[in-house]
Symmetry: D3
Subunit: 274 residues, 6 copies
């Protein structure tokens, strides 16, 4: 069950409202790297968690934190929209800077939301829940979460670089910090469970006899003219400790040339296909 | 530049065509765990790769392999649709098994594709390219790729469990194997670059002064009644080697109660809001 | 800021797990009539609320309640998936009832989520945030919320009719009750602000001189052969108390026949259009 | 059956073509507040209408009117695109105003439509039909329609404020007027049917015994630190006349702590979850 | 301006309501091959038509006809849903045929629309307007329209084959006939304008000097092991009459190996990329 | 099976990087007129091809070529983003030209991709695979392909007109040329199979008795006030050689006035509908 308290998790100050930056900030709310995504991803993972209950609790606690991040970012967007131009009709509109703002901000911040945040990304594309990755497999989910937080910290860093508003820098600095923790938090689950060697390959419960292991440890060079890029993945022990990496230099087809024969008479193909 | 040769990477045999399984297999083509996703994800990462060129080459080589996976899976779907019922009009349609097939298969396999594969998932939802994660950050991309392959191997394992067709089991067994390799391949890049300690937090180029480091290493308990779930993430050295994990037991708001004041007269709010 | 406590808002019991009903229940989570929608809609409206702060508080409190509804519904979906068939490979699969289940359930409940809830509707289509209606206009938002709750109670009533599982009926009965309250809660805001007469037309702040009032109060019959359907909307005082309803029996065009002339030479039209 | 006549419902004049305003106007065509939405919503409601046929007729008549609104708005977009810059290659492109236009207009107005209207919103996101709300319940549909028209009139008012082109102001003034009527028209159906007291809760056909009425009339305060916002919804008779409003000050969980136990061995979870 | 009359363009009779066939029929309403698509495509093409006004008129007339097709198909869906099972709670639900229907029909026909048509396809995916192709180029649009009608007639033929209800066969037979006409109608425009030789390549207004004509007439064999498939496209005069077809047997790269160098220090890449 | 070689199919040079043009170029990658679409469309058509195998081979060869087009366009986008402004914090940001660039470029080119190509269109909307048209009918597919290439060449011509960068003009000139060939290539299949007379109506395998041929060859005038636009489609032999074109001047309804009667008591409609 969820509860709410009235103050924001982090203070939001905007010294110089900037409606174009408001558009950019939306990526941190409704982008695939944003907070709606992680809030919902951890929430659905928690609801589907099977096994040791502590992972469920951990997921739900951080899901709850991410909801609070949406909240202060939403306030930041609204504050950046304070005083935005909403009209082309006065003299000011002939100012090229106003023109650039009217053209550069998200038009729906004026037309649809009345100068407040929306659950969309910086292109105005609404977030869709297909990005909530929750597989029922703890290892896959932990990697998905670390990925989401890596994307989130990359985004927060780019937003930090983009603005010179001190209040916004402070807020983004807080987000960068929390993303640091969250990246490690999810990877720490993998470490606690024995690390990559024990957890890979995911799912580690797939019986060996379900796997064509002759194909499990070679890097396949599909290029006609490039040498294989050598690295940790081309030789040495595999990360799961079960084998050695190797290389297949030139892909050799193992299958047939596909053919489907003629079309069925009742399939509404052209007569010539039958 | 891409090239094609006529045989499939892996042989596709279907002993007992099953149109409902054809629907399930679509998840491996057009699902978020599927092959279109990884093919396009590695392709776009390769096109945007900056830094050591060998990662670009590696990405492009595996992107190319994944295109070949789409190809044999597409053939597998078509073969599973051979002989599918396309009509309710004969006596057979009163057979409950035919009824269940007509209700259980993807109707668009009859209506839209004429008994062949589509770029959709097992619900018939078309794949959309928002799932192509390519950030320009090598670490974030490697985690995203390991995530995609973990999801892919979970899916292939579930499809393997679902079918009793030997040809399909063989094909899925091959996919399980390649996903094993690909999971490790991407994580091996991180290991080669010094492992998690060197690569975390992602991006590792964000200057420390951009980060509110007081908030970087604590697990935040947002629950009102649950004890903090203890683990690798609550104490001991952080995975990036820069600090120690700790716990904040009860979230303390640091921000204001948000308030936006009155609506602007020209904002088409209700008069009562102004 | 959000918080969480460990128990569900309402007890979830499933006497006879039913994986097809799990698919139906998804509509109440990820459908346009579902709980993600209202949780996010009230949350974004709260973040954008201007004017009397009590409406902001009210919105946030109910947003928080709706998050708790997602949570118990998510548990209900998972419990309905307990024991679901995940394989066609044993003898049981030849049982037509198992066949109908395998064909009738959401395949991604097996393949993607590992037998737990997803943020999708009963067709497996992911929820997308374009359905979060938050206009910055209190009146428009209150109507949107009453609409959402009306849709929600219609859905809950249909789900109630569909199942004969007592635990599920109890849970749905609770949802029906809360939707009763929420419908009235939002409409009560309008009543408190003077009712429809004071609040219509929305926005009530649009100056009269911005409106071609000659066209504001007639019902337009666009049919060539049907009489105007008479009712409260064809005569008597308008609901905003500003005028009388009337009828325009036959639509008369007031505009020109549109014409765009020739295509520009540089517009990549066909030569014949230029 | 539909018919067409050659003149527009309302005259469209554009004194000063403005390609950035053309982008904004798209919201009124392909936005969720736009005309495609209401045309299709009323059309599908009409096709599904059961009960007194006059509501079906009314819906179809207004659906038809809305199609005519799409038509004149589409012409308005095209006229605003007359003379738009389509090239960066001449000297004019160095003019910051041309630059701002090229950056601020919808690029697909040049690239995809050849300077004419598209069924997209002001972000260029195509309209999707999930926004066509048609429930088969007359009360829910009437609220949905009033909501759509409230959103539409808010939008038209904002577009009116944005432009200083007299022809565009006249056209928007007409839309504002028709939205006034349409808001009231749908709410008048509810009034004719006995008003909110008779129509609430929607659906009013749900038997009382299907509802946990103990939970039907209290406002739930889910905040840890905010007092309940008092208003029409916290005391006094409920709007459906069946009960009295009350308040539950602190949410008390009624359910269990959810637990799903261990993962099934065949579910491709990690071994540690089993 | 649009008008409506009360009778359907074609009579709809359903002898044996079939809720699973109702699901299939949805493809003809909300599928990419369906009537919403063509109605809106011709409407938007008409609104953007430049050049000889008769093409605009023709487009608008057929757009209007397609709206009438949506109307009778919508009625057909509703009639197929008459008497559909909406409950699992009675004894009938144990009947495998009822089970198959409950699993095989679109659940939203019960839950969301109350047994009537929706603007979705046979998978329940809502139609989205990105499929409205309207380029501003008459030739491209005519091909797009012929394509849409070809897809439509393929679909109608498959639906015809699927059902044994005489009323549905009659209705589909009418649709097959109209699609015959519409295919030819659009291609007849091309013939009237001089046929493919005059109209190709589209756009025929692109100056020859904008085209690298050395690459305009060869078929490129990108296969490593397949002979070029010989046909009308490998030799003989090109269809535009400007040249001769030829073959390039082996693709020769003309470009560089791409390289982007190092990442910018401010781009939030990993340090190792800089 | 696919292979890759290291050089681009065509050389990509960008003399003056232009981040706004990078946004425009995205339409050629991820737009409905773009290269992902045709690559995937031909690939899926090839996988579903039945009948003479040479069409399958031809489709696969050109699918492969289109993958190479994505590759060099992706490089072109990245090169146009070299040196793009990513920050508002220095003095340069006060320059109106920098402002216009920051407002006019795709923000996700900075925030999400780190200055490289994305699988999105020029509005930032991700490509979705519903645009991959593959019907299993050779004629319908050939028309769909010619349509796609017509749209592609229109787009390439508009992009050519838009830029004054010689390297970009050269690349687009190559694309214009290949689109010329591809348009004709697909239409040449129709010509080889006997031309439109033999191939129309599509599908040409639909038995005549499935078609209400009385409705197959007339143009229907649905306008109340416009004369029928005369042309090749109103008289003379039909393009399929089976009949003569004619005109129906005024649409006459052939169907009933639709009526669905009362709502079912268990359908959660309003009581008044029952």
């Amino acid at each position: 069950m969820f509860h709410h308290s009235s103050q924001l998790q982090f203070e939001v100050k905007v010294d110089k409202p900037n409606p174009v930056f408001a558009k950019h900030l939306q990526q941190a709310i409704g982008g695939i790297e944003g907070e709606i995504r992680v809030a919902m991803q951890y929430f659905f993972q928690a609801m589907g968690a099977r096994g040791d209950a502590k992972y469920r609790d951990m997921l739900m606690m951080t899901a709850t934190e991410e909801l609070s991040h949406i909240e202060f970012l939403g306030h930041a967007v609204a504050l950046n929209l304070e005083g935005a131009p909403t009209s082309m009709q006065d003299e000011a509109a002939k100012d090229p800077i106003v023109n650039a703002i009217m053209g550069g901000m998200n038009p729906r911040h004026i037309l649809s939301s009345g100068l407040s945040a929306m659950p969309v990304n910086s292109n105005g594309v609404p977030f869709d829940m297909s990005h909530v990755y929750a597989t029922g497999n703890l290892g896959a989910d932990m990697l998905a979460n670390a990925t989401a937080e890596a994307g989130g910290r990359v985004l927060a860093s780019r937003l930090y670089n983009m603005t010179d508003d001190q209040g916004m820098k402070d807020m983004l600095s807080f987000l960068i910090a929390r993303d640091t923790m969250h990246q490690q938090q999810w990877l720490a689950v993998i470490e606690e469970l024995g690390g990559m060697e024990a957890q890979l390959p995911i799912p580690n419960s797939t019986p060996q006899e379900h796997e064509a292991t002759a194909h499990s440890y070679y890097f396949l060079n599909t290029s006609l003219d490039e040498a294989t890029p050598e690295g940790r993945w081309t030789s040495g022990p595999s990360l799961d400790g079960r084998s050695e990496f190797s290389v297949v230099e030139k892909i050799e087809p193992q299958g047939q040339k596909p053919s489907l024969g003629k079309a069925r008479p009742d399939s509404a193909a052209q007569t010539e296909q039958m």
